[in-house]
Symmetry: C2
Subunit: 167 residues, 2 copies
């Protein structure tokens, strides 16, 4: 496998993985491209390399910046904007975990809490609803605490977490 093949394979794999994380293909591919690019890229560069439109590029770059994993960079004497990705993969993972907790986990926990707090009326169906949503609530809560602890850890958290769990 040569450089171009490897690059394309990586970008397209990352692109299809994205879909499974609630991130669309173009967004994930832009991210992949920036991640392996030694230099910041301009919008034109990205459009050309991925063969996508200006509008698409603009919107997805914005989203990546909202996620906190892509940054604008200005080159001296140039009007054009350049973009880079967070290059430290552990920092990347932490940022993603943080955003997912905020966007998905926490809202879900709130709803589970509300639903599990309805009045017990003695029927089997109500009992079951309360029981199951309580169990889910408890698990989601634990997971969120766990994720946030992990986010607060230092740089090599993932290896450290692994060591702890194996012991």
């Amino acid at each position: 496998m040569n450089y171009d093949e490897a690059k394309n394979k990586f970008i397209s794999t990352w692109g299809s993985l994205g879909t499974l994380w609630g991130i669309n293909k173009a967004m994930a591919q832009i991210h992949a491209l920036l991640l392996i690019s030694p230099e910041p890229l301009s919008m034109e560069d990205i459009m050309e390399q991925l063969q996508i439109s200006r509008g698409n590029t603009s919107m997805n770059l914005r989203q990546l910046m909202d996620w906190g994993i892509v940054f604008k960079e200005n080159k001296m004497g140039e009007r054009k904007e350049y973009f880079t990705s967070e290059k430290d993969v552990q920092e990347l993972a932490r940022q993603i975990a943080k955003e997912r907790s905020r966007r998905e986990l926490q809202p879900t926990i709130k709803i589970l809490k509300d639903v599990s707090n309805i009045d017990e009326d003695g029927t089997a169906k109500t009992k079951e609803l309360i029981k199951q949503t309580k169990a889910l609530h408890e698990m989601a809560d634990t997971l969120d605490i766990l994720m946030n602890r992990v986010i607060g850890q230092d740089h090599n958290w993932i290896t450290k977490a692994l060591v702890k769990l194996i012991k």
Copy 2:
């Protein structure tokens, strides 16, 4: 909030969450319905409660069974098939983690390994590609080991894992 409101809220929340996990809305809703139903449900029951077609119900039930989180059940003297969900939420989480590792994580790890093994040719772009895909490979590998350890643990793994990490 009364029973019906709570039930609908839970089913629709679970349904939209599903999308973010690579599971479609109908599939996630069927699962939610079965999870809070004290009795096994027939295909007719599910179609009626969720207002979806027979074909849709049939296909999504099959997928849920492929994921190992919904089971067929036969009532004595009845021809019709009934369905139940895995009711233990921790077992549910373990099953989902196991399947996601198998379907997504492991194939990705393989590709990252291939891509990071291309020949070093001294250029900056090749260096960066190798460096970043190696880092991702290492992280994905650690995560997979971590997930599989967790899967192998007993019933109350999540709380235990949390305790370990907090210490």
